[in-house]
Symmetry: C2
Subunit: 288 residues, 2 copies
Protein backbone atom coordinates (compact mmCIF):
# COMPACT_ATOMS: atom_id res chain seq x y z
CA UNK A 1 0.00 0.00 0.00
CA UNK A 2 1.27 3.44 -0.84
CA UNK A 3 0.94 6.79 0.84
CA UNK A 4 -2.34 8.45 0.09
CA UNK A 5 -2.41 11.69 -1.83
CA UNK A 6 -6.06 12.61 -1.74
CA UNK A 7 -7.68 15.79 -3.00
CA UNK A 8 -9.92 15.80 0.08
CA UNK A 9 -9.21 14.33 3.51
CA UNK A 10 -10.46 10.77 3.54
CA UNK A 11 -12.65 11.23 6.61
CA UNK A 12 -14.49 14.06 4.87
CA UNK A 13 -14.81 12.07 1.68
CA UNK A 14 -16.29 9.17 3.60
CA UNK A 15 -18.33 11.14 6.08
CA UNK A 16 -16.44 9.66 9.02
CA UNK A 17 -16.14 11.36 12.39
CA UNK A 18 -13.07 13.61 12.58
CA UNK A 19 -10.24 13.07 15.03
CA UNK A 20 -10.42 16.26 17.07
CA UNK A 21 -7.59 18.07 18.80
CA UNK A 22 -6.99 16.85 22.34
CA UNK A 23 -8.55 13.47 21.65
CA UNK A 24 -6.92 10.05 21.75
CA UNK A 25 -8.12 7.31 19.46
CA UNK A 26 -7.13 3.78 20.49
CA UNK A 27 -6.82 2.19 17.09
CA UNK A 28 -6.36 -1.41 16.04
CA UNK A 29 -3.94 -1.74 13.14
CA UNK A 30 -5.01 -5.28 12.26
CA UNK A 31 -2.64 -8.20 11.88
CA UNK A 32 -0.18 -6.61 9.45
CA UNK A 33 -1.44 -6.29 5.88
CA UNK A 34 -2.27 -2.57 5.48
CA UNK A 35 -5.30 -3.65 3.42
CA UNK A 36 -6.77 -4.97 6.65
CA UNK A 37 -6.78 -1.55 8.30
CA UNK A 38 -10.28 -0.29 8.83
CA UNK A 39 -11.24 2.86 6.98
CA UNK A 40 -11.64 4.59 10.35
CA UNK A 41 -8.09 3.60 11.25
CA UNK A 42 -6.76 4.85 7.92
CA UNK A 43 -8.65 8.12 8.31
CA UNK A 44 -7.28 8.49 11.84
CA UNK A 45 -3.71 8.01 10.64
CA UNK A 46 -4.30 10.61 7.94
CA UNK A 47 -5.41 13.16 10.55
CA UNK A 48 -2.98 12.40 13.36
CA UNK A 49 -0.55 14.87 14.83
CA UNK A 50 1.04 12.09 16.87
CA UNK A 51 1.07 8.32 16.40
CA UNK A 52 2.21 6.21 19.35
CA UNK A 53 2.70 2.65 18.12
CA UNK A 54 3.51 -0.84 19.34
CA UNK A 55 6.15 -3.32 18.30
CA UNK A 56 3.57 -5.36 16.45
CA UNK A 57 2.54 -2.60 14.06
CA UNK A 58 3.95 -3.06 10.58
CA UNK A 59 6.19 -0.36 9.13
CA UNK A 60 4.04 -0.25 5.99
CA UNK A 61 1.15 0.93 8.14
CA UNK A 62 3.13 3.70 9.81
CA UNK A 63 3.90 5.07 6.36
CA UNK A 64 0.19 5.83 5.97
CA UNK A 65 0.30 8.48 8.68
CA UNK A 66 -0.10 12.11 7.74
CA UNK A 67 3.21 13.59 6.61
CA UNK A 68 4.33 15.75 9.49
CA UNK A 69 2.86 13.56 12.18
CA UNK A 70 5.29 12.56 14.91
CA UNK A 71 5.71 8.81 15.12
CA UNK A 72 6.67 7.45 18.53
CA UNK A 73 7.57 3.91 19.46
CA UNK A 74 6.02 2.58 22.65
CA UNK A 75 6.98 -0.96 21.99
CA UNK A 76 6.62 -3.83 24.34
CA UNK A 77 8.01 -7.15 23.23
CA UNK A 78 6.20 -10.35 24.06
CA UNK A 79 7.37 -12.12 27.16
CA UNK A 80 9.07 -9.18 28.82
CA UNK A 81 7.66 -7.30 31.77
CA UNK A 82 6.21 -3.98 30.80
CA UNK A 83 7.10 -1.48 33.49
CA UNK A 84 6.48 1.26 31.02
CA UNK A 85 2.72 0.79 30.63
CA UNK A 86 2.10 3.69 32.99
CA UNK A 87 4.61 5.79 31.06
CA UNK A 88 2.80 5.10 27.81
CA UNK A 89 -0.49 6.20 29.31
CA UNK A 90 1.13 9.35 30.69
CA UNK A 91 2.59 10.13 27.29
CA UNK A 92 -0.84 9.84 25.65
CA UNK A 93 -2.26 12.18 28.27
CA UNK A 94 0.58 14.64 27.75
CA UNK A 95 0.09 14.68 23.97
CA UNK A 96 -3.66 15.13 24.29
CA UNK A 97 -3.24 17.94 26.82
CA UNK A 98 -0.91 19.64 24.36
CA UNK A 99 -3.84 19.73 21.96
CA UNK A 100 -2.58 17.03 19.60
CA UNK A 101 -4.73 14.66 17.60
CA UNK A 102 -3.39 11.41 19.03
CA UNK A 103 -3.55 7.95 17.50
CA UNK A 104 -2.54 5.12 19.81
CA UNK A 105 -1.90 2.38 17.28
CA UNK A 106 -1.88 -1.22 18.41
CA UNK A 107 -1.33 -4.42 16.49
CA UNK A 108 -4.54 -6.37 15.93
CA UNK A 109 -7.40 -5.13 18.06
CA UNK A 110 -6.93 -2.87 21.11
CA UNK A 111 -9.27 -5.00 23.22
CA UNK A 112 -7.92 -8.43 22.27
CA UNK A 113 -4.85 -8.89 24.43
CA UNK A 114 -3.97 -5.30 23.52
CA UNK A 115 -4.23 -3.63 26.93
CA UNK A 116 -6.45 -1.01 25.34
CA UNK A 117 -8.72 -1.08 28.37
CA UNK A 118 -5.92 -0.12 30.72
CA UNK A 119 -4.85 2.82 28.60
CA UNK A 120 -8.44 3.93 28.15
CA UNK A 121 -9.04 3.92 31.91
CA UNK A 122 -5.95 6.07 32.39
CA UNK A 123 -7.44 8.52 29.88
CA UNK A 124 -10.74 8.46 31.77
CA UNK A 125 -8.94 9.28 34.98
CA UNK A 126 -7.21 12.20 33.26
CA UNK A 127 -10.49 13.28 31.63
CA UNK A 128 -9.10 12.95 28.12
CA UNK A 129 -11.81 12.16 25.56
CA UNK A 130 -11.21 9.04 23.54
CA UNK A 131 -12.64 6.69 20.94
CA UNK A 132 -11.93 3.00 20.36
CA UNK A 133 -11.42 1.86 16.78
CA UNK A 134 -11.54 -1.94 16.70
CA UNK A 135 -9.24 -3.79 14.34
CA UNK A 136 -9.08 -7.21 12.77
CA UNK A 137 -7.51 -9.42 15.40
CA UNK A 138 -4.74 -11.73 14.23
CA UNK A 139 -6.51 -14.76 15.69
CA UNK A 140 -9.09 -14.47 12.92
CA UNK A 141 -7.44 -12.38 10.19
CA UNK A 142 -4.01 -13.90 10.57
CA UNK A 143 -5.46 -17.39 10.45
CA UNK A 144 -7.47 -16.52 7.33
CA UNK A 145 -4.27 -15.58 5.48
CA UNK A 146 -2.90 -18.99 6.43
CA UNK A 147 -5.98 -20.62 4.92
CA UNK A 148 -7.34 -21.67 8.30
CA UNK A 149 -10.86 -20.67 9.34
CA UNK A 150 -11.32 -19.92 13.05
CA UNK A 151 -14.61 -21.79 12.74
CA UNK A 152 -16.03 -24.20 10.19
CA UNK A 153 -19.52 -25.62 10.44
CA UNK A 154 -18.51 -29.28 10.28
CA UNK A 155 -15.71 -28.83 12.79
CA UNK A 156 -16.40 -26.40 15.63
CA UNK A 157 -19.08 -24.22 17.12
CA UNK A 158 -16.69 -22.51 19.49
CA UNK A 159 -13.18 -21.13 19.40
CA UNK A 160 -11.07 -19.89 22.28
CA UNK A 161 -8.42 -17.21 22.05
CA UNK A 162 -5.75 -17.37 24.71
CA UNK A 163 -2.71 -15.28 25.44
CA UNK A 164 0.40 -17.35 25.92
CA UNK A 165 1.89 -15.01 28.47
CA UNK A 166 0.68 -12.73 31.21
CA UNK A 167 2.01 -9.27 31.96
CA UNK A 168 4.99 -10.80 33.73
CA UNK A 169 5.90 -12.87 30.68
CA UNK A 170 4.82 -16.21 32.13
CA UNK A 171 2.08 -18.55 31.01
CA UNK A 172 -0.99 -17.16 32.76
CA UNK A 173 -1.53 -19.19 35.91
CA UNK A 174 -5.21 -18.34 36.22
CA UNK A 175 -6.12 -20.46 33.21
CA UNK A 176 -7.81 -23.82 33.62
CA UNK A 177 -6.05 -25.48 30.69
CA UNK A 178 -7.74 -28.78 31.41
CA UNK A 179 -11.20 -27.26 31.01
CA UNK A 180 -10.11 -25.13 28.07
CA UNK A 181 -8.65 -28.13 26.31
CA UNK A 182 -11.72 -30.19 26.97
CA UNK A 183 -14.30 -27.51 26.20
CA UNK A 184 -12.91 -25.71 23.23
CA UNK A 185 -12.48 -27.63 20.00
CA UNK A 186 -10.15 -24.97 18.62
CA UNK A 187 -7.57 -23.06 20.63
CA UNK A 188 -5.81 -20.06 19.14
CA UNK A 189 -2.90 -18.95 21.28
CA UNK A 190 -1.35 -15.52 20.84
CA UNK A 191 2.28 -14.91 21.76
CA UNK A 192 2.73 -18.44 23.03
CA UNK A 193 5.89 -19.46 21.22
CA UNK A 194 8.18 -18.97 24.19
CA UNK A 195 6.07 -21.24 26.37
CA UNK A 196 5.23 -23.81 23.70
CA UNK A 197 6.46 -26.85 25.69
CA UNK A 198 4.33 -25.95 28.71
CA UNK A 199 1.30 -25.15 26.56
CA UNK A 200 1.68 -28.46 24.71
CA UNK A 201 1.89 -30.38 27.97
CA UNK A 202 -1.15 -28.65 29.40
CA UNK A 203 -3.23 -29.31 26.30
CA UNK A 204 -2.18 -32.95 26.13
CA UNK A 205 -2.97 -33.33 29.82
CA UNK A 206 -6.48 -32.09 29.02
CA UNK A 207 -6.93 -35.16 26.88
CA UNK A 208 -6.27 -33.77 23.43
CA UNK A 209 -4.89 -36.28 20.94
CA UNK A 210 -1.18 -36.26 20.26
CA UNK A 211 -1.87 -36.41 16.53
CA UNK A 212 -4.22 -33.43 16.65
CA UNK A 213 -3.23 -30.95 13.96
CA UNK A 214 -1.44 -27.76 14.94
CA UNK A 215 -0.35 -24.81 12.86
CA UNK A 216 2.19 -22.15 13.73
CA UNK A 217 1.53 -18.94 11.83
CA UNK A 218 4.41 -16.52 12.01
CA UNK A 219 4.26 -12.85 10.90
CA UNK A 220 0.70 -13.42 9.75
CA UNK A 221 -0.56 -11.44 6.73
CA UNK A 222 2.81 -9.78 6.12
CA UNK A 223 5.23 -10.62 3.30
CA UNK A 224 7.21 -12.59 5.92
CA UNK A 225 4.29 -14.88 6.77
CA UNK A 226 5.30 -18.49 7.27
CA UNK A 227 3.10 -21.40 8.28
CA UNK A 228 4.26 -24.67 9.79
CA UNK A 229 1.75 -27.50 9.95
CA UNK A 230 2.46 -30.11 12.57
CA UNK A 231 0.81 -32.03 15.41
CA UNK A 232 0.63 -31.64 19.16
CA UNK A 233 3.18 -34.44 19.46
CA UNK A 234 5.69 -32.77 17.18
CA UNK A 235 5.02 -29.06 17.62
CA UNK A 236 7.91 -28.22 19.91
CA UNK A 237 10.47 -29.99 17.73
CA UNK A 238 8.98 -28.59 14.51
CA UNK A 239 8.96 -25.04 15.83
CA UNK A 240 12.67 -25.40 16.49
CA UNK A 241 13.42 -27.22 13.24
CA UNK A 242 11.71 -24.53 11.19
CA UNK A 243 13.06 -21.70 13.34
CA UNK A 244 9.60 -20.25 13.75
CA UNK A 245 9.83 -16.61 14.68
CA UNK A 246 7.67 -14.51 16.99
CA UNK A 247 5.10 -13.13 16.70
CA UNK A 248 3.38 -16.39 15.98
CA UNK A 249 -0.09 -17.78 16.44
CA UNK A 250 -0.51 -21.35 17.62
CA UNK A 251 -3.66 -22.98 16.28
CA UNK A 252 -4.73 -26.30 17.77
CA UNK A 253 -7.67 -28.13 16.25
CA UNK A 254 -9.17 -29.88 13.27
CA UNK A 255 -9.69 -26.59 11.44
CA UNK A 256 -5.99 -26.74 10.59
CA UNK A 257 -6.78 -29.56 8.13
CA UNK A 258 -8.90 -27.17 6.10
CA UNK A 259 -5.76 -25.41 5.02
CA UNK A 260 -5.37 -27.99 2.25
CA UNK A 261 -8.52 -26.54 0.72
CA UNK A 262 -8.50 -22.93 1.82
CA UNK A 263 -4.93 -21.70 1.39
CA UNK A 264 -6.00 -19.07 -1.13
CA UNK A 265 -2.78 -17.11 -0.74
CA UNK A 266 -0.65 -20.07 -1.84
CA UNK A 267 -3.16 -20.85 -4.58
CA UNK A 268 -2.26 -17.50 -6.13
CA UNK A 269 1.24 -18.90 -6.55
CA UNK A 270 0.04 -22.16 -8.05
CA UNK A 271 -0.76 -24.41 -5.09
CA UNK A 272 -3.57 -26.79 -6.04
CA UNK A 273 -6.33 -26.74 -3.45
CA UNK A 274 -8.29 -29.78 -2.31
CA UNK A 275 -12.08 -29.29 -2.37
CA UNK A 276 -12.74 -31.87 0.35
CA UNK A 277 -9.92 -31.51 2.88
CA UNK A 278 -11.94 -33.10 5.68
CA UNK A 279 -12.94 -36.12 3.60
CA UNK A 280 -16.62 -35.45 4.21
CA UNK A 281 -18.01 -36.10 0.77
CA UNK A 282 -19.65 -39.52 0.61
CA UNK A 283 -17.66 -40.78 -2.35
CA UNK A 284 -14.67 -39.49 -4.25
CA UNK A 285 -15.65 -37.81 -7.47
CA UNK A 286 -14.54 -39.14 -10.78
CA UNK A 287 -12.65 -36.55 -12.71
CA UNK A 288 -12.67 -36.80 -16.49
CA UNK B 1 -20.55 7.18 5.52
CA UNK B 2 -21.33 8.49 2.05
CA UNK B 3 -20.80 7.09 -1.41
CA UNK B 4 -17.29 7.61 -2.63
CA UNK B 5 -16.62 9.80 -5.63
CA UNK B 6 -12.92 9.38 -6.13
CA UNK B 7 -10.79 10.74 -8.96
CA UNK B 8 -8.89 7.45 -9.06
CA UNK B 9 -10.12 3.99 -8.07
CA UNK B 10 -9.34 3.48 -4.42
CA UNK B 11 -7.44 0.23 -4.96
CA UNK B 12 -5.09 2.01 -7.35
CA UNK B 13 -4.68 4.93 -5.02
CA UNK B 14 -3.77 2.59 -2.18
CA UNK B 15 -1.77 0.08 -4.20
CA UNK B 16 -4.13 -2.74 -3.25
CA UNK B 17 -4.57 -5.88 -5.34
CA UNK B 18 -7.36 -5.50 -7.90
CA UNK B 19 -10.48 -7.63 -7.93
CA UNK B 20 -10.14 -9.38 -11.29
CA UNK B 21 -12.92 -10.58 -13.58
CA UNK B 22 -14.03 -14.11 -12.82
CA UNK B 23 -12.82 -13.95 -9.22
CA UNK B 24 -14.84 -14.18 -6.04
CA UNK B 25 -13.73 -12.32 -2.95
CA UNK B 26 -15.23 -13.55 0.31
CA UNK B 27 -15.37 -10.30 2.22
CA UNK B 28 -16.13 -9.56 5.85
CA UNK B 29 -18.25 -6.44 6.24
CA UNK B 30 -17.52 -6.03 9.93
CA UNK B 31 -20.15 -5.63 12.63
CA UNK B 32 -22.14 -2.82 11.04
CA UNK B 33 -20.49 0.60 11.24
CA UNK B 34 -19.18 1.26 7.71
CA UNK B 35 -16.10 2.83 9.30
CA UNK B 36 -15.14 -0.66 10.42
CA UNK B 37 -14.91 -1.96 6.87
CA UNK B 38 -11.35 -2.78 5.93
CA UNK B 39 -9.85 -0.77 3.12
CA UNK B 40 -9.61 -3.99 1.10
CA UNK B 41 -13.33 -4.55 1.59
CA UNK B 42 -14.14 -0.98 0.59
CA UNK B 43 -11.93 -1.28 -2.48
CA UNK B 44 -13.61 -4.57 -3.38
CA UNK B 45 -17.06 -3.00 -3.16
CA UNK B 46 -15.88 -0.17 -5.36
CA UNK B 47 -14.76 -2.62 -8.06
CA UNK B 48 -17.55 -5.20 -7.86
CA UNK B 49 -19.83 -6.12 -10.74
CA UNK B 50 -21.94 -8.22 -8.37
CA UNK B 51 -22.36 -8.11 -4.60
CA UNK B 52 -24.04 -11.09 -2.95
CA UNK B 53 -24.81 -10.16 0.64
CA UNK B 54 -26.16 -11.60 3.87
CA UNK B 55 -28.96 -10.49 6.15
CA UNK B 56 -26.47 -9.16 8.65
CA UNK B 57 -24.85 -6.67 6.29
CA UNK B 58 -25.94 -3.11 6.97
CA UNK B 59 -27.68 -1.14 4.21
CA UNK B 60 -25.21 1.71 4.68
CA UNK B 61 -22.44 -0.63 3.58
CA UNK B 62 -24.24 -1.79 0.46
CA UNK B 63 -24.48 1.84 -0.61
CA UNK B 64 -20.68 1.87 -0.91
CA UNK B 65 -20.76 -0.56 -3.84
CA UNK B 66 -19.83 0.67 -7.28
CA UNK B 67 -22.81 2.32 -8.96
CA UNK B 68 -23.97 -0.19 -11.55
CA UNK B 69 -23.06 -3.23 -9.50
CA UNK B 70 -25.86 -5.74 -9.08
CA UNK B 71 -26.74 -6.25 -5.43
CA UNK B 72 -28.21 -9.65 -4.57
CA UNK B 73 -29.63 -10.79 -1.25
CA UNK B 74 -28.59 -14.25 -0.14
CA UNK B 75 -29.86 -13.85 3.34
CA UNK B 76 -30.07 -16.49 5.92
CA UNK B 77 -31.71 -15.55 9.19
CA UNK B 78 -30.35 -16.86 12.44
CA UNK B 79 -32.05 -19.95 13.76
CA UNK B 80 -33.59 -21.09 10.51
CA UNK B 81 -32.32 -24.02 8.50
CA UNK B 82 -30.40 -22.93 5.46
CA UNK B 83 -31.30 -25.23 2.61
CA UNK B 84 -30.08 -22.61 0.21
CA UNK B 85 -26.39 -22.70 1.13
CA UNK B 86 -25.68 -24.83 -1.93
CA UNK B 87 -27.70 -22.42 -4.07
CA UNK B 88 -25.65 -19.48 -2.83
CA UNK B 89 -22.44 -21.26 -3.73
CA UNK B 90 -23.81 -22.13 -7.17
CA UNK B 91 -24.80 -18.52 -7.72
CA UNK B 92 -21.28 -17.33 -6.88
CA UNK B 93 -19.89 -19.87 -9.34
CA UNK B 94 -22.33 -18.77 -12.02
CA UNK B 95 -21.44 -15.11 -11.60
CA UNK B 96 -17.72 -15.82 -11.68
CA UNK B 97 -18.06 -18.00 -14.79
CA UNK B 98 -19.91 -15.13 -16.45
CA UNK B 99 -16.76 -13.08 -15.95
CA UNK B 100 -18.06 -10.88 -13.17
CA UNK B 101 -16.02 -9.37 -10.36
CA UNK B 102 -17.86 -10.95 -7.46
CA UNK B 103 -17.95 -9.77 -3.85
CA UNK B 104 -19.52 -12.21 -1.42
CA UNK B 105 -20.22 -9.90 1.49
CA UNK B 106 -20.79 -11.36 4.93
CA UNK B 107 -21.49 -9.69 8.24
CA UNK B 108 -18.50 -9.71 10.59
CA UNK B 109 -15.75 -12.03 9.43
CA UNK B 110 -16.27 -14.76 6.83
CA UNK B 111 -14.43 -17.34 8.94
CA UNK B 112 -16.06 -16.56 12.30
CA UNK B 113 -19.39 -18.38 12.19
CA UNK B 114 -19.73 -17.04 8.66
CA UNK B 115 -19.67 -20.27 6.65
CA UNK B 116 -16.99 -18.73 4.47
CA UNK B 117 -15.08 -22.00 4.45
CA UNK B 118 -17.98 -23.89 2.95
CA UNK B 119 -18.45 -21.39 0.17
CA UNK B 120 -14.74 -21.27 -0.52
CA UNK B 121 -14.53 -25.05 -0.84
CA UNK B 122 -17.40 -24.96 -3.35
CA UNK B 123 -15.36 -22.42 -5.34
CA UNK B 124 -12.31 -24.69 -5.14
CA UNK B 125 -14.34 -27.57 -6.49
CA UNK B 126 -15.53 -25.38 -9.38
CA UNK B 127 -11.99 -24.06 -9.91
CA UNK B 128 -13.01 -20.46 -9.36
CA UNK B 129 -10.17 -18.32 -8.02
CA UNK B 130 -10.90 -16.55 -4.76
CA UNK B 131 -9.50 -14.38 -1.99
CA UNK B 132 -10.57 -14.07 1.62
CA UNK B 133 -10.82 -10.57 3.08
CA UNK B 134 -11.14 -10.86 6.86
CA UNK B 135 -13.38 -8.45 8.69
CA UNK B 136 -13.77 -7.19 12.23
CA UNK B 137 -15.86 -9.82 13.97
CA UNK B 138 -18.74 -8.55 16.08
CA UNK B 139 -17.50 -10.50 19.10
CA UNK B 140 -14.63 -8.03 19.38
CA UNK B 141 -15.71 -4.94 17.43
CA UNK B 142 -19.33 -5.04 18.54
CA UNK B 143 -18.29 -5.42 22.16
CA UNK B 144 -15.89 -2.50 21.84
CA UNK B 145 -18.73 -0.21 20.78
CA UNK B 146 -20.59 -1.32 23.88
CA UNK B 147 -17.58 -0.33 25.99
CA UNK B 148 -16.71 -3.94 26.81
CA UNK B 149 -13.24 -5.28 26.09
CA UNK B 150 -13.08 -8.93 25.00
CA UNK B 151 -10.03 -9.20 27.24
CA UNK B 152 -8.64 -7.07 30.04
CA UNK B 153 -5.40 -7.86 31.81
CA UNK B 154 -6.80 -7.94 35.32
CA UNK B 155 -9.78 -10.05 34.32
CA UNK B 156 -9.12 -12.69 31.68
CA UNK B 157 -6.36 -14.28 29.66
CA UNK B 158 -8.78 -16.19 27.45
CA UNK B 159 -12.06 -15.53 25.72
CA UNK B 160 -14.31 -18.02 23.96
CA UNK B 161 -16.59 -17.22 21.05
CA UNK B 162 -19.53 -19.56 20.64
CA UNK B 163 -22.36 -19.72 18.17
CA UNK B 164 -25.73 -20.04 19.83
CA UNK B 165 -27.19 -22.17 17.09
CA UNK B 166 -26.03 -24.81 14.66
CA UNK B 167 -27.00 -25.07 11.01
CA UNK B 168 -30.34 -26.60 12.01
CA UNK B 169 -31.12 -23.67 14.30
CA UNK B 170 -30.62 -25.56 17.56
CA UNK B 171 -28.09 -24.99 20.28
CA UNK B 172 -25.06 -26.94 19.05
CA UNK B 173 -25.10 -30.31 20.78
CA UNK B 174 -21.39 -30.96 20.30
CA UNK B 175 -20.43 -28.31 22.82
CA UNK B 176 -19.20 -29.23 26.27
CA UNK B 177 -20.82 -26.29 28.04
CA UNK B 178 -19.63 -27.51 31.40
CA UNK B 179 -15.99 -27.38 30.31
CA UNK B 180 -16.49 -24.12 28.41
CA UNK B 181 -18.12 -22.51 31.40
CA UNK B 182 -15.39 -23.73 33.69
CA UNK B 183 -12.45 -23.01 31.41
CA UNK B 184 -13.29 -19.73 29.82
CA UNK B 185 -13.59 -16.67 32.01
CA UNK B 186 -15.43 -14.78 29.28
CA UNK B 187 -17.97 -16.27 26.90
CA UNK B 188 -19.20 -14.32 23.90
CA UNK B 189 -22.16 -15.98 22.26
CA UNK B 190 -23.23 -15.04 18.76
CA UNK B 191 -26.84 -15.44 17.68
CA UNK B 192 -27.85 -16.99 20.97
CA UNK B 193 -30.90 -14.93 21.83
CA UNK B 194 -33.40 -17.56 20.77
CA UNK B 195 -31.82 -20.17 23.02
CA UNK B 196 -31.03 -17.87 25.92
CA UNK B 197 -32.81 -19.98 28.59
CA UNK B 198 -30.91 -23.13 27.59
CA UNK B 199 -27.62 -21.27 27.38
CA UNK B 200 -28.18 -19.72 30.79
CA UNK B 201 -28.97 -23.11 32.32
CA UNK B 202 -25.90 -24.71 30.78
CA UNK B 203 -23.59 -21.95 31.99
CA UNK B 204 -25.05 -22.01 35.50
CA UNK B 205 -24.71 -25.79 35.55
CA UNK B 206 -21.02 -25.28 34.79
CA UNK B 207 -20.72 -23.52 38.11
CA UNK B 208 -20.82 -19.89 37.05
CA UNK B 209 -22.23 -17.53 39.65
CA UNK B 210 -25.83 -16.41 39.28
CA UNK B 211 -24.75 -12.82 39.92
CA UNK B 212 -22.09 -12.94 37.22
CA UNK B 213 -22.49 -9.92 34.96
CA UNK B 214 -23.97 -10.38 31.50
CA UNK B 215 -24.46 -7.91 28.68
CA UNK B 216 -26.76 -8.23 25.70
CA UNK B 217 -25.54 -6.12 22.79
CA UNK B 218 -28.11 -5.73 20.06
CA UNK B 219 -27.43 -4.28 16.58
CA UNK B 220 -23.85 -3.63 17.66
CA UNK B 221 -22.03 -0.63 16.15
CA UNK B 222 -25.11 0.55 14.21
CA UNK B 223 -27.30 3.53 15.10
CA UNK B 224 -29.77 0.98 16.53
CA UNK B 225 -27.24 -0.42 19.02
CA UNK B 226 -28.71 -1.14 22.43
CA UNK B 227 -26.99 -2.66 25.43
CA UNK B 228 -28.69 -4.33 28.38
CA UNK B 229 -26.56 -5.05 31.43
CA UNK B 230 -27.85 -7.80 33.66
CA UNK B 231 -26.75 -10.99 35.43
CA UNK B 232 -26.92 -14.67 34.66
CA UNK B 233 -29.80 -14.95 37.10
CA UNK B 234 -31.86 -12.24 35.43
CA UNK B 235 -30.79 -12.40 31.80
CA UNK B 236 -33.80 -14.23 30.41
CA UNK B 237 -36.30 -11.95 32.11
CA UNK B 238 -34.32 -8.81 31.26
CA UNK B 239 -34.02 -9.78 27.60
CA UNK B 240 -37.80 -10.02 27.48
CA UNK B 241 -38.41 -6.90 29.57
CA UNK B 242 -36.17 -4.82 27.30
CA UNK B 243 -37.41 -6.51 24.13
CA UNK B 244 -33.86 -7.18 23.03
CA UNK B 245 -33.76 -7.74 19.29
CA UNK B 246 -31.61 -10.07 17.21
CA UNK B 247 -28.90 -9.96 16.15
CA UNK B 248 -27.49 -9.76 19.64
CA UNK B 249 -24.27 -10.76 21.32
CA UNK B 250 -24.40 -12.32 24.78
CA UNK B 251 -21.34 -11.52 26.87
CA UNK B 252 -20.84 -13.43 30.10
CA UNK B 253 -18.00 -12.45 32.38
CA UNK B 254 -16.41 -9.86 34.60
CA UNK B 255 -15.30 -7.79 31.59
CA UNK B 256 -18.89 -6.53 31.45
CA UNK B 257 -18.18 -4.46 34.59
CA UNK B 258 -15.59 -2.48 32.66
CA UNK B 259 -18.38 -0.87 30.70
CA UNK B 260 -18.79 1.67 33.51
CA UNK B 261 -15.33 2.95 32.58
CA UNK B 262 -15.05 2.21 28.87
CA UNK B 263 -18.37 3.17 27.33
CA UNK B 264 -16.74 5.79 25.12
CA UNK B 265 -19.73 5.97 22.80
CA UNK B 266 -22.07 7.03 25.61
CA UNK B 267 -19.38 9.37 26.96
CA UNK B 268 -19.72 11.32 23.70
CA UNK B 269 -23.29 12.02 24.77
CA UNK B 270 -22.31 13.06 28.27
CA UNK B 271 -22.11 9.81 30.26
CA UNK B 272 -19.53 10.19 33.01
CA UNK B 273 -17.07 7.31 32.97
CA UNK B 274 -15.64 5.67 36.06
CA UNK B 275 -11.82 5.34 36.01
CA UNK B 276 -11.77 2.32 38.33
CA UNK B 277 -14.77 0.18 37.41
CA UNK B 278 -13.26 -2.97 38.88
CA UNK B 279 -12.41 -1.32 42.18
CA UNK B 280 -8.77 -2.33 41.84
CA UNK B 281 -7.08 0.85 43.01
CA UNK B 282 -5.81 0.47 46.55
CA UNK B 283 -7.64 3.48 47.95
CA UNK B 284 -10.28 5.77 46.56
CA UNK B 285 -8.86 9.05 45.42
CA UNK B 286 -9.88 12.28 47.00
CA UNK B 287 -11.37 14.59 44.45
CA UNK B 288 -11.14 18.29 45.12
Amino acid sequence: MTILRLPTPIHEMLGLPPLEKGWVWLVGAGPGDPGLLTVLALAALQQADAVVYDALVDESILRLARPGATIEYAGKRGGKPSPRQRDISLRLIELARAGKRVVRLKGGDPFMFGRGGEEALALVEARIPFRVVPGVTSGTGGLAYAGIPATHRDVNHAVTFVTGHNSGGDVPDDLDWEALGRGSPVLVIYMGLKHLPRIRSAVLAAGRRADEPVALVSHATTPRQRVVETTLAAVVEDAAAHAVEAPALIVIGEVVRLRAGLDWLAAMSGKVLEPDPLGLQPAPRQRA
